[in-house]
């Protein structure tokens, strides 16, 4: 036997369906209304004449012959900690996935990326930039031709020179930068603070000192 459809539930269903469709169209209505208005002046409106702020220029190159090396550097990746002995020449870019410790008079001809902490020894020469994700210590008389970018604390000892290359350079840190007897104009950006101290011995964390001890022994 065929069942007759009950008209009342059908109307109820249609009412709900109509309401549902109405609500959907309501949100389009606002969109269309907004579209008809002139465009909102967002913050990205073009500023043709936008110029960068005048920055402190890095001091002029005082050492002769520090020109850009045009050769293409190979990049090597080191898994774990790395300790570079005295007087070594590193002729490539290096990504160190652990900590880096270098002894005296090491020459880095490429750039450095250190995932751990880095302790750069006395009279080291970095001919490109160094990016460090933890603490960074630059010992006495280190030369960095381009930039230092560090996520952790930065300790810069006496006689360190930064940004001597033709490309220029500076320091940026997400944390505090400690400078020992800083001299001359230097472009420094720190998210926290910049401290100029007489000696770094008091501010260097103990565990970083241990890293330095390892280097010395």
């Amino acid at each position: 036997m065929r069942r007759e459809a009950d008209p009342l539930p059908t109307f109820g269903y249609l009412e709900i369906l109509g309401l549902f469709i109405g609500m959907i169209f309501l949100c389009f209505l606002w969109g269309i209304w907004e579209y008809k208005k002139p465009k909102d002046p967002g913050p990205l409106f073009i500023d043709l004449n936008r110029t960068i702020e005048k920055r402190v220029r890095v001091r002029e190159c005082s050492v002769g012959g520090l020109t850009q090396n045009p050769s293409v550097y190979e990049t090597i990746r080191v898994r774990g900690d790395l300790r570079i002995p005295k007087g070594e020449v590193v002729p490539y870019n290096m990504i160190v996935e652990g900590n880096l410790t270098s002894q005296e008079d090491v020459i880095f001809q490429g750039g450095l990326h250190v995932r751990g902490r880095a302790v750069i020894g006395v009279r080291n020469r970095l001919e490109k930039s160094i990016v460090c994700q933890k603490e960074l210590l630059l010992s006495e008389d280190v030369i960095v031709y381009n930039c230092i970018d560090c996520e952790g604390l930065v300790f810069i000892k006496n006689g360190v020179r930064i940004g001597l290359g033709v490309e220029g350079g500076g320091i940026a840190s997400a944390s505090t930068i400690y400078l020992e007897n800083a001299r001359g104009p230097l472009r420094i950006h720190s998210k926290a603070r910049i401290h100029i101290v007489g000696t770094l011995e008091k501010v260097i964390p103990k565990d970083l000192e241990q890293t330095i001890e390892v280097k010395v022994t």
């Binding site: 606002w30 043709l48 960068i52 890095v58 500076g170």
Partner: protein, 464 residues
């Protein structure tokens, strides 16, 4: 089948809401922008041009005004005229004769074979350490180059990508929708992927590479319609990273009509699907990528196949409902609709677009969000069709093409599905109205400044 589709779409939703929450509530990576302006390596800028007379002058003018040392050994602009038959060659020559750092490259005999080929020719001429690429309809501000080169301080960074902002968004309905979609894609998605150390993508323009990296991976692949996505994956699989610089904004002319949008979207979708076929297993097996990079890499590769999944899901859902499946089967079309609305777009989902407009302080534009539904429907249709076109493009045919780095010769071309996509320019038509908007705003700024100055003068006079 339906459950698999829903599971995949759920993954996309989780991914996008992760991006959203990271961008809005977590600390953002600095991307060496503190060093922008102090670190200025030697740069070669490549501008591939094919019949660009409407926009050639404006982009070359922008690079003349760029805030960067203009000595020829460190800054060169290479305008590559790729077989243009309009006034483009003469515009390029005019600028090359006036400014020593602008070089004009004309491809007369073998010209007109597409952007990747033009870029490879440009690379042969380029001599500097960093290679940046700009499309001809882009209008970079004066600090764009120094912001883009700053991440190269890091030796791990092989490529960089800036933010694309449509300049002509008031021009049409399509350009307004693209404007907000781009905002979500760059402001939220790209930035979050960079924050989370996933895979920010090089977008083919407003970005660049180290020359040594390009050489290592063999330059631009001329068999791909999206050589940018291809390069992104090549870089990551070789252990390099791409930095996304949100502060390096560059203005572009967005397309104005649905026809142009369809053409553009088809090209992107086919190219992206080509990369999906090539890099899916390579990404999974990579010893270099982390677990989450692999997950993001796979989801990014599949971003243009999700519309097809949605489409299939709708069909199965409706079929199940009509053929008397269980009571809950009727929920499938609705669920998929919601999923689609939340996850389709050019990396820009509903929440991401809303979040980006919030960050950009464009509160009024949030009302336009529901209208993105139209874009969703277009995406479903265009990307589904493009997927099948991409399948027929999978087996390239040999041809003789002279390319970058003579020791590596690409011997492939693409012919399939009735179209020859490779070795021809498939760009969208330029309206040339970008400069009008650009100039209009600049004039408005001048007027505002003038009014302010006059007001200050009047106040000073009143004070005596």
């Amino acid at each position: 089948m339906l459950l698999v589709i829903i599971a995949i779409m759920s993954l996309y939703i989780v991914r996008h809401f992760r991006f959203f929450s990271n961008r809005l509530f977590k600390e953002q990576r600095r991307c060496q922008q503190d060093l922008a302006g102090t670190f200025r390596p030697s740069v070669s800028i490549l501008i591939p041009m094919h019949k660009e007379e409407k926009v050639a002058t404006s982009i070359l003018e922008r690079f003349v005004e760029m805030d960067y040392p203009k000595d020829a050994s460190r800054y060169e602009v290479i305008a590559i005229d790729d077989g243009s038959t309009d006034a483009t060659p003469s515009i390029v020559d005019e600028y090359a004769s006036k400014f020593s750092f602008i070089k004009g490259v004309h491809r007369v005999e073998n010209g007109g074979n597409g952007k990747p080929e033009a870029l490879n020719v440009g690379l042969k001429v380029a001599s500097n350490e960093i290679i940046l690429i700009f499309d001809a309809d882009y209008l970079p501000p004066q600090d764009c180059i120094e912001r883009l080169v700053a991440p190269f301080v890091d030796v791990e960074v092989g490529g960089v990508m800036g933010r694309v902002v449509p300049v002509n968004s008031p021009a049409s309905f399509v350009s307004r929708i693209i404007d907000i979609e781009r905002a979500g894609g760059y402001q939220i998605s790209q930035q979050a992927r960079y924050n989370l150390n996933l895979i920010p993508q090089f977008g083919g323009t407003v970005g660049g590479f180290r020359r040594s990296v390009l050489k290592a991976v063999g330059g631009f692949d001329e068999t791909k319609l999206t050589e940018d996505t291809d390069l992104t994956y090549k870089l990551y699989l070789h252990g390099w990273k791409i930095a996304y610089v949100n502060a390096a904004e560059c203005y572009e002319e967005a397309v104005l009509s649905w026809e142009m949008r369809e053409k553009q979207l088809t090209r992107w979708a086919i190219g992206h699907d080509q990369c999906l076929f090539e890099y899916f297993f390579k990404t999974l097996k990579s010893p270099v990528l982390t677990f989450w990079q692999k997950v993001d890499g796979i989801l990014l590769l599949g971003v243009y196949t999700t519309p097809l999944l949605i489409f299939v899901g709708w069909l199965i859902g409706i079929f199940t409902y009509l053929t008397g499946g269980p009571w809950w089967s009727s929920l499938f079309p609705a669920i998929l609709f919601v999923f689609a609305y939340n996850s389709i777009g050019n990396f820009a989902v509903f929440a991401e677009v809303g979040g980006s407009l919030f960050l950009d302080q464009r509160r009024r534009s949030i009302w336009l969000l529901p209208l993105m539904f139209v874009d969703l429907l277009a995406n479903v249709w265009v990307c589904s069709r493009a997927f099948f076109k991409a399948i027929f493009l999978r087996n390239p045919r040999p041809s003789q093409v002279e390319t970058l780095f003579s020791e590596r010769v690409h011997t492939k071309t693409l012919n399939g599905f009735g179209n020859n996509y490779a070795h021809q320019w498939d760009k969208t038509e330029r309206s040339g109205n970008g400069l009008l908007y650009y100039t209009a705003v600049a004039t408005e700024l001048d007027v505002t400044n003038h009014v302010k100055k006059a007001e200050i003068k009047r106040n000073n006079e009143k004070r005596g």
